[in-house]
């Protein structure tokens, strides 16, 4: 078959059909993948919650509530066993990272003791700042099992008790700050009750 001539009618018709078919197929794929994408996002969050609080039998992501501090929102996920509160997973963040925002999931026991910390999102330098991730180094272990009321949650350079990651003091400092924010809001909320 000979190549179609490049006249006005052919060109308009071709582009119309090409874009129509493209947008239709995209709409179909979008509909099909919408649900799996939503579930995958919830699954990721639930995994992070499960990592940072003790065993629970409720659905923390269905009982979430937000607490506002300085115009920003922290999301709280209460974990309960039976009717008893066993811990709270707090989605916290800091904008003081070396490359922008760091988002953490901090799990606190009802008395404020840190039970676990997971990194949700960050853009820190690979090989240096990304050691805040729990599977890349033991940095987070300095926090686990300790109550921020009993120790100074700052890096040594700031006269605190935390050994910063080598060559990533800014990242470590930001990490401490995000955990501290979660703890402060948690205590403030507890005192109000």
């Amino acid at each position: 078959m000979a190549k179609k001539e490049s006249n006005f009618k052919n060109m308009v018709l071709t582009l119309f059909i090409v874009t129509l078919v493209a947008s239709t197929s995209l709409a179909v794929v979008y509909e099909v993948t919408k649900e799996p994408i939503r579930l995958a996002a919830i699954e990721r969050k639930n995994n992070a919650i499960r990592e940072v609080v003790p065993d629970f039998d409720n659905q923390p992501n269905e009982e979430e509530y937000t607490v506002e501090v300085n115009g920003e929102e922290l999301v709280f996920y209460p974990a309960k066993m039976g009717d008893e509160l066993v811990g709270v997973a707090i989605e916290t963040f800091t904008r003081q990272g070396y490359s922008g925002t760091i988002e953490l999931m901090v799990g606190l026991l009802p008395d404020g003791t840190i039970h676990g910390i997971e990194v949700l999102r960050h853009a820190e330098t690979p090989g240096l700042g990304d050691k805040i991730e729990t599977d890349k180094s033991d940095f987070y272990k300095q926090f686990v099992g300790r109550n921020p009321a009993d120790f100074n949650m700052k890096v040594r350079q700031d006269n605190g008790d935390i050994d910063a990651i080598t060559a990533s003091t800014i990242t470590s400092r930001a990490y401490c700050e995000a955990v501290q924010l979660a703890y402060d809001v948690f205590i403030e909320k507890k005192d109000k009750k």
Binding site: K4, N7, M11, L15, V18
Partner: protein, 193 residues
Amino acid sequence: MNQARNFTKGFVRDNPVFTMMLGLCPALGTTTSAFNGFGMGMATLFVVLMSNIVVAIFKDFIPNKVRIPSYIVIIASFVTITDLVMEAFMGALHAELGLFIPLIVVNCFVLGRAEAFASKNTLFSSIVDGIGMGLAFTMALTMLGAARELLGANALFGVELVEGDGMLVFVLAPGAFIALGYLIALMNKLKKD
């Protein structure tokens, strides 16, 4: 046309990255580890194969003057489909490559195959070309990723080979250029022999 030669031409002689210098943005940006390079290569392989097929089938229906916009729409559709499907079913990889998947649209290597090959050859040749070129691109990205991961993190495909820190510069952006330069030199040596 000799299909065996058509299939293998991309690996050394016409390698998209090392010889034609196409698609360098994802090649440099995503290859911080061998696995990331491999994942990006595979996503590109899918897009180049599908766009080659569609362009080869419909090449006679598309008037010459609007062929480039038509190809771009076709490629962009497949990229978006890849993006959605990866987000739904390959969450971890998508989180690492997320930013670069939409950029496959402007990867001139994909458009290059559509324009330089699929629009002038039969469907079967175009399929062979798409798979061959896609695999060659994957190979190039995996090699680059492996070299950077090996030198920068003393690891390969996430498995640590030597204790301790590597030459961090190779994981960072400048190292991508350095590693690519040496790999191109190596490939040129291979071609001469």
